[in-house]
Amino acid sequence: MDNLLELARGPLFRLAFALMILGTMRQVILTIIGYLEARKKAGDKNINTGGLAIETIKWLVPFRYVKKRGLYSLTSFLFHIGLVLVPIFFAGHIRLWAGAIGITWPALPGPISDWLALLTVVSGIGLIAGRLWNSRSRALSRFQDWFFTPMIVLVFITGYLAAHPQSSPIGYREVMIVHVLGADLIMLLLPFSKLIHCILLPFSRYVNDMGWRFVSGSGEAVLADLGKEGKPV
């Protein structure tokens, strides 16, 4: 048991973390290179860089979009706050990061991480329920949509229990093993799944904007490829 925990916390954690960093770096670099290449090809290079940045930032503020599907939007927003903040700013994690990468940063006060974690758990359960309940959402869901939210909720519950051993119905070690293994798995899968949106979000509107920037002569080149040069309409 102890060995497993040590494995999960030590080598496995380091492996998952390293792969996550490398994997996301690869995705970011590919996106940037792809963007620059696309920009080079695009016939119209007047890009409203600032405007797109503002749009991106506006979407991080929930008040703008809770008007429609309010409950869902709010739940999703609450889910994401804890999800982003607790792994990075919970004091216990910072100690762990310090051990792994050697740097530290200020931590969130204990009660705040507690509340954020609970919020993520509750809203996460809400999101799962919503997906189950709504036939449209069910139809839209792929395997990874069913997999990650419960996984995240599980990691957050066990994380909370690990931080409050006195209120835990199960032993600290068991809790920790589930917590750490779960977190390792999520980190490992992050670059290869929809979770990558947490890193690529800032690029998203730029990529999308590039979509409508066509390449001069591309249509005729396609016709040539297909053996239809100068094809009448």
Partner: protein
């Protein structure tokens, strides 16, 4: 009352949910469609930026389903297949399966045979149920644009001959026909029309107002949706009267007077050829800029693509409403505030408003002389498509679909305003709204913005 009637009419035939969007296509080679589709797809990916965008979409789409609340088609049918990200996924699946290493590997492991005729048929309908209005784009937290995927899907389909006949026929006349425009209006007939309109104007205003043709070096080379020459004389006369009042130099080109560009709806090479003709005409006229009439897609295809296809030194592009708003602001035209007594509302064409490009100008213009102006809810950037967007308005065979599905939200919006006049500054929207008004028996009239200007302008 009216509500009940509508419901009766719908249930008497098919349920709204089951209304199909079946359009006519020209006879074409129907063998080996999957192979030819993939060939075209591969070539398009090679020469364009779509691949980069598809890749990003595939990785990031969280399938959160928020876009569903934005789509007027889905709102009416409630069919899962009409959810924007679900529709886009039809094409993304093909992309992943055939053009990404992981997709190919997966297919080998699972024995997935890949694209087949059934999937092609599914896309063929799905991408024309979508009016490419891009409303869903506003509701995507990642800013993904399903309208772009629809455009690409239609483009690839068109390369294997799956494209609405009505669009192809019009474009063929424009690019290869004798008349060089989508409505097939001969140059002589167009010049006759202008002469006739000048007489009408003189009768109405007592002034000699010109429609300048082929004047070199004008500030504006003017293009409208060519159908305006047949159907919208008041809009044209309003524009001419406005230029008469300001004295700015504008001109219509006799070699090419059609701003319509169906390429925006289904094909990049058609888009490019049409834009290049427009550029050539403006250059021939030595115009300082390109000015597009009220029409939405004509404006967007010029604004969005003249720079792309100009090979350097692009001419500036603007829409007539920007011009009109400016000259009103500068006090260069006078409008009679007591002329328009009816209640007026304004329909935002998607191609003008969705990106936030032209939203304030028409409101500024209308409020400057219309006393009873009401807004639709929602309006501006978030306005509902008329239901005939993306070229679908030209497809008479899907009239029922346009009326009962794509345009239903618009009909509800129109009714709620209680307006007497709906100003729709777009040839496509005008046609669709006119049909909606008939179908839903609304007591309302569709007009262009400059029709009202014509009524109210004071010429001295």
């Amino acid at each position: 009352m009216a509500d009940k009637k509508e419901n009766d009419r719908v249930s008497a035939t098919v349920k709204v949910k089951d209304l199909r969007c079946d359009y006519h296509i020209e006879p074409c080679d129907s063998t080996e469609r999957p192979r030819r589709f993939l060939e075209a797809f591969a070539s398009i990916l090679k020469h364009t930026n779509y691949g980069f965008v598809l890749d990003h979409f595939s990785k990031n789409s969280a399938h959160c389903g928020r876009c569903a609340v934005a789509c007027p088609v889905y709102e009416v049918t409630g069919r899962i297949e009409d959810i924007p990200c679900r529709r886009s996924d039809l094409l993304l699946q093909v992309y992943r399966r055939h053009f990404t290493p992981s997709g190919k590997l997966r297919a080998r492991l699972l024995g997935d045979p890949g694209l087949d005729d059934r999937k092609i048929d599914e896309m063929a309908e799905a991408f024309y149920r979508c009016t490419a209005c891009r409303r869903c784009n506003l509701d995507c937290p990642m800013g993904l644009d399903h309208g772009l995927i629809t455009h690409l899907g239609r483009y690839i389909l068109s390369e294997i001959g799956v494209v609405p006949k009505a669009l192809v026929v019009a474009t063929r006349e424009q690019l290869e026909g004798k008349t060089g425009n989508t409505s097939g209006i001969p140059k002589a007939a167009m010049l006759d029309t202008l002469e006739f309109l000048e007489e009408e104007l003189e009768e109405a205003t007592g002034k000699k107002i010109k429609f300048p043709v082929d004047v070199e070096g004008a500030d504006f080379a003017f293009f409208v949706a060519v159908s305006d020459y047949l159907l919208e004389p008041d809009t044209l006369m309003g524009q001419a009267a406005l230029f008469h009042a300001t004295g700015d130099k504008w001109t219509i080109g006799s070699e090419n007077f059609d701003g319509i560009n169906y390429g925006l709806f289904y094909s990049d090479w058609i888009l490019e050829r049409v834009v290049r003709r427009e550029i050539a005409e403006a250059r021939r006229l030595k115009a300082k800029s390109v000015l597009i009439g009220e029409c939405g897609h004509a404006s967007r295809s010029a604004k969005g693509f003249i720079t792309t296809y100009s090979d350097g030194d692009p001419l500036p592009v603007s829409n007539i409403m920007q011009y009109t708003a400016r000259v009103i602001k500068e006090g260069r035209v006078k409008l009679d505030k007591d002329k328009i007594k009816q209640r007026v509302t304004y329909h935002d064409p998607c191609n003008l408003a969705r990106s936030g490009w032209i939203v304030d100008e028409p409101r500024f213009i209308l409020k400057s002389f219309v006393k009873d102006f009401v807004e639709m809810t929602p309006h501006g950037k978030a306005n509902y498509c008329c239901g005939g967007g993306g070229g679908t308005v030209s497809l008479d065979e899907i009239h029922r679909f346009r009326m009962q599905v794509a345009g239903r939200k618009k009909a509800e919006q129109l009714k709620a305003t209680g307006a007497d006049i709906v100003v729709a500054p777009c040839a496509n929207c005008k046609k669709q709204l006119g049909e909606i008004i008939q179908e839903y028996e609304l007591d309302m009239e569709v007009k262009g913005l400059h029709d009202l200007i014509l009524e109210a302008i004071i010429l001295d």
